[in-house]
C-alpha cells in the first residue's frame, strides 16, 4: 500500500490511507526523505488519521523519519493520532519522544507555518 505524497508550497503531506506493513512504513520513510531533498521542502506532515494500530515498529519508524528529516534541516509533524491509538501506545510504553504532533492536518500546517515564520 503506497502512501501518496503531495507537495504543497514548502511542505510535503503524506496521508496514510490504509494499514501499513513494515515494508510499507520503511518505504514511506525513504520516499519522504528523498522527496524532501528533491523538492527542497521545509516541512513534512504525516497524517496517520486512518492508522488503527501504532505498534513498536511504526513508532520507531516515525521517530527515525523525524530524525532523518531533521538532519536535512526540515521539520516533521505527525498529525491525526486517534485517541484509542494514543491510549494503546502509552499503555504499551511507546514514546514518540521529541517528534512534533498535532491534532489534524490543519493544526499541523499551522504549526509548520508558525515555525517557518519565526525562523526567517
Amino acid at each position: 500500500m503506497e502512501v501518496p505524497i503531495l507537495k504543497q508550497g514548502d511542505f510535503l503531506i503524506a496521508t496514510v490511507q490504509a494499514a501499513l506493513t513494515d515494508a510499507d512504513l520503511l518505504h514511506l520513510r525513504t520516499a519522504l526523505v528523498q522527496h524532501v531533498v528533491r523538492s527542497r521542502s521545509r516541512g513534512v506532515i504525516v497524517d496517520v488519521t486512518s492508522l488503527d494500530v501504532m505498534d513498536s515498529f511504526a513508532s520507531r519508524t516515525l521517530r527515525d523519519l523525524d530524525h532523518m528529516i531533521r538532519l536535512r534541516g526540515a521539520e516533521t509533524v505527525i498529525v491525526g493520532i486517534q485517541p484509542e491509538v494514543a491510549f494503546a501506545m502509552v499503555q504499551l510504553g511507546l514514546r514518540l519522544e521529541d517528534v512534533a504532533t498535532a491534532l489534524d492536518l490543519e493544526e499541523g500546517l499551522a504549526y509548520l507555518n508558525q515555525k517557518f515564520k519565526s525562523s526567517t
Binding site: T21, E84, L92, L94
Partner: protein, 136 residues
C-alpha cells in the same frame, strides 16, 4: 462465528492480517473500540516477535467464556513458534530488555494491554505466549 481462527505468521504482511482479524473478532464480540485497539496492538507485537525471532509461527484467536452463568466473554490470543526460545523469561518480562537491541519493551508492554498473560518458553524449542482480554 468460528470459535477459533488461526493465522499463519511468515512475514510482516501476516502481522497486519493477524491484528485485523483480532480487531474484527473483538468488535463482533461487542468490545469497545478502545479495547479492540488494545487487542489489535497486542497481537501486532506478538506477531512481530514471531517474525523477528522465530521467522514463522501461528497466532490463534479464540472466543472464551467466563465461569458458567457469568455471561462474560473475551478473546484469547495464543502466539506460538518453534523458534530459538527465550533463555531467561524473567529477564524478558522486565521493561527495557531486548535481545534484538531495538525494541526493548515488547513483552512487558503487551502485558499492560491485556487482562491475563502467560508465557512458556524452552530454549531452542520455541515460545508460546497466551493472552486474554475480557469484555468490560
Amino acid at each position: 462465528m468460528d470459535d477459533e481462527t488461526r493465522v499463519r505468521i511468515n512475514s510482516d504482511q501476516d502481522i497486519v492480517v493477524a491484528r485485523q482479524k483480532g480487531r474484527s473478532l473483538a468488535m463482533a464480540l461487542g468490545f469497545s473500540s478502545g479495547d479492540a485497539t488494545l487487542v489489535a496492538t497486542a497481537i501486532s507485537e506478538l506477531a512481530r516477535n514471531i517474525v523477528s525471532y522465530a521467522k514463522t509461527g501461528d497466532i490463534v484467536l479464540k472466543v472464551i467464556h467466563g465461569s458458567a452463568n457469568s455471561g462474560i466473554s473475551g478473546i484469547q490470543v495464543v502466539a506460538r513458534d518453534n523458534g530459538p526460545g527465550i533463555p531467561d523469561v524473567q529477564q524478558a518480562l522486565r521493561d527495557g530488555f531486548s535481545t534484538s537491541g531495538s525494541l526493548g519493551l515488547g513483552l512487558p508492554g503487551v502485558m499492560r494491554l491485556v487482562d491475563e498473560f502467560h508465557i512458556a518458553s524452552v530454549e531452542s524449542q520455541g515460545t508460546t505466549v497466551s493472552i486474554k482480554k475480557w469484555k468490560h
